[in-house]
């Protein structure tokens, strides 16, 4: 399946292991990703705060580029925040022809136009896995079932709320997909309070306590539920849960030390790739334990 591919900013910035692992995993799922390397940041909710017309135009530009990719079924992103920010803009653009025309006027000098309709979609990798590839097809490709691994899903706010804007009418189980994918790759999804809560990233500069208390609590809850690691489809969540984990521990006054995987890394492991090629050495909180467990499973098999 050919897809226009928006990798986002952070995957090429502070979480290069995400970008790298996605590149390795895509061919194994028969995904041909055409990277939109001329496209701009989605705004991450911050530009929307500043000026809606601006962020709608910036994302319309990305959509227009994606729509010009010949033969692409749709657009794929690898970040919950991109998904949420872009869905918000798309909702406004699709709601009014007059507004859309205004926005397209800004794109015209570049020869770009965002077209509404025709069933064009923008989906996060998680949604693509379940809706476009299918859990059965995923299960068939699993080389190394992650049996015995207890994985706590961390969705990221922007991909589960508000449900009306994120297509839950058509796909009511989207807030359960990560659990389903964890199961499909042979691992056991862990139930814990923080799965669909906020990692705190949006306020890390504005109220560090509020930010890291959240991250700390959810990590602690996952640990208390005997999770071996977390997995998340959002690199911004990953930053607050992994990069900031040592600092977060201070805000909940306990040791943490639980690895956080990117979704493509978990998929990659199940599809038979090695931790090193998935960049699992680049995490702040060591993924050593997870790697050992995975190796043990493979050895036992």
């Amino acid at each position: 399946m050919k897809l226009a591919y928006w990798p986002g900013c952070v995957s090429r910035g502070f979480t290069p292991e995400l970008h790298g692992s996605m590149a390795k995993v895509a061919p194994l799922l028969d995904l041909e990703l055409i990277e939109l390397d001329r496209a701009n940041c989605c705004g991450a909710g911050v530009i929307a705060e500043h000026n809606q017309e601006l962020v709608d135009t910036l994302n319309a530009r990305t959509f227009a580029m994606a729509q010009s990719v010949e033969g692409a079924a749709g657009m794929i992103n690898i970040c919950s925040t991109c998904q949420g920010a872009q869905s918000e803009c798309q909702e406004r653009l699709d709601a009014s022809g007059t507004y859309r025309a205004e926005v397209n006027a800004h794109l015209a000098p570049e020869g770009l136009t965002y077209r509404q309709g025709d069933g064009w979609w923008n989906k996060n990798f998680l949604w693509v896995l379940v809706e476009e590839i299918g859990l059965d097809a995923l299960r068939e490709r699993v080389q190394r079932p992650l049996s015995g691994l207890r994985i706590a899903p961390f969705y990221g706010c922007y991909i589960v709320r508000p449900s009306k804007r994120l297509g839950f009418d058509e796909h009511p189980e989207r807030d359960y997909y990560l659990d389903m994918v964890i199961e499909a790759v042979g691992a056991a999804p862990v139930e814990y309070a923080g799965a669909r809560k906020c990692c705190g990233f949006p306020v890390i500069t504005m109220n560090r306590t509020t930010s890291l208390r959240q991250a700390g609590r959810h990590l602690a809850d996952a640990l208390d539920a005997d999770a071996d690691c977390l997995v998340t489809p959002c690199p911004l969540c990953h930053l607050n849960l992994d990069l900031q984990q040592p600092a977060a521990a201070g805000f909940v006054e306990r040791d943490l030390g639980i690895a956080v995987l990117h979704l493509p890394q978990m998929i990659g492991l199940a599809l038979g790739l090695e931790p090193k090629e998935l960049g699992m050495g680049k995490h702040v909180v060591s993924t050593g334990d997870v790697q050992r467990k995975v190796a043990a499973v493979a050895a036992a098999a």
């Binding site: 952070v10 502070f14 000026n51 709601a95 009014s96 306020v203 109220n207």
Partner: protein, 366 residues
């Protein structure tokens, strides 16, 4: 007629015992509400169950509870759907979160919700004396605009669901801040700047919102409190240039400037610029900026150690190939002089039904 199991969280403050779950059965059609189910149990089985309720039509805001963990009004949650979403078909009903519980499903709204509402000075402070024998003249769009915040019925569902409040009980919160917008968005009020300054400088104010959409998700009236908070931020930064001590202004400016310059986010500069009201230099040299940066040093070092961040990445960041197009877009949009905001609450879906002036032009206050 279908039967439903309601697992209700009981708490008797006079018993000295902790809260506990009790199971009850209700028999009613699937389209009836969870409140109808609870009232049936009260009527037939146990009239001591405490729940506030009045209008049964999602207007009075009395019956806020958590159903299957989700904050909602009991009266407009259909019992059949609740059962489908419940574990093993049972519907759990417990009191709202983030508030003390008085008894059973009744929480102390005064202690949390109303205290916060009063914090935002929730009455009109007119800019001018009223004209004699006449109404204040106000643009129709402005009144339509604040109707969204006015639609709040003070049910507390947003307060209950608020994830910031869960970790920071002093956060002013979604309901109170949405109420604050009702005044900041009202042209007759003369205290916009003072209100915004107050809420921007308060560490538990508008910049303590963790932007998680939980309140938007649960509000039964589509008030979208988080959206109102974002509008408060927008007014504070754009209309009054309030450079708050919480780095709210700085963070927004930093992010926007970086995208205008590079097209994608230059993370290494995001933090220092946030601490410097958008300026890289200020962020590093100003005492408060330097102090905050220093606090982030251990994190930065960890990033370097693991190879996530390289010195090259920290210093250089590529511009997009057509970055001048992106800059052009910035200039075009920002030179309008007016901010265009398409509020779908007001206009709904117009696709296929276009008319003139379909969206509100918000002149802002310059």
């Amino acid at each position: 007629m279908p039967e439903y199991t309601l697992k209700i969280r009981r708490f008797d403050p006079e018993s000295g015992e902790a809260a506990y779950w009790a199971d009850y059965t209700a028999e009613l059609p699937a389209e009836r509400s969870v409140l109808d189910g609870i009232l049936q149990v009260k009527d037939r089985t146990d009239a001591s169950i405490g729940i506030r309720c009045s209008c049964r039509a999602a207007i009075c805001g009395s019956c806020g509870v958590r159903i299957n963990g989700r904050s909602a009004l009991a009266c407009n949650t259909r019992i059949g759907e609740a059962a489908e979403r419940g574990r093993d078909g049972a519907i759990t009903v417990e009191p709202m979160g983030n508030m003390p519980v008085i008894k059973d499903l009744i929480t102390d709204m005064e202690a949390v919700h109303w205290r916060k509402v009063q914090r935002v000075v929730p009455w009109l402070i007119p800019a001018e004396d009223p004209p004699e024998d006449q109404e204040y003249i106000v643009a129709a769009e402005a009144m339509l605009d604040v109707t969204q915040a006015m639609a709040c019925i003070h049910c507390g569902a947003c307060v209950s669901a608020c994830l910031s409040m869960e970790v920071d009980p002093n956060f002013i919160g979604p309901a109170a801040l949405a109420k604050a917008y009702r005044f900041v968005g009202d042209p007759r009020d003369g205290e916009h700047e003072a209100r915004l300054r107050d809420l921007a400088e308060d560490p538990h104010g508008i910049y303590d919102c963790t932007h998680c959409f939980a309140c938007v998700e649960v509000c039964p009236k589509d008030v979208a409190p988080m959206d109102q908070i974002m509008r408060l931020r927008r007014r504070a930064t754009e209309d009054f240039q309030i450079k708050d001590q919480n780095n709210g202004y700085g963070h927004e400016k930093a992010f926007v400037n970086l995208i205008e310059k590079y097209g994608t986010n230059h993370e290494a500069q995001l933090l220092p610029r946030s601490f410097g009201d958008g300026s890289l230099v200020k962020g590093q040299l100003r005492p408060s900026g330097a102090k905050q940066l220093t606090r982030e040093l251990p994190t930065a070092l960890r990033g370097l150690r693991t190879g996530k961040v390289t010195p090259k990445k920290a210093l250089l960041h590529p511009r997009l190939p057509d970055q001048k197009q992106v800059r052009r877009i910035f200039q075009e949009v920002e030179s309008h002089g007016e901010r265009i905001e398409l509020n779908l609450y007001i206009v709904g879906e117009l696709a296929g039904e276009e008319e003139e002036g379909a969206f509100a032009e918000d002149a802002g206050e310059t």
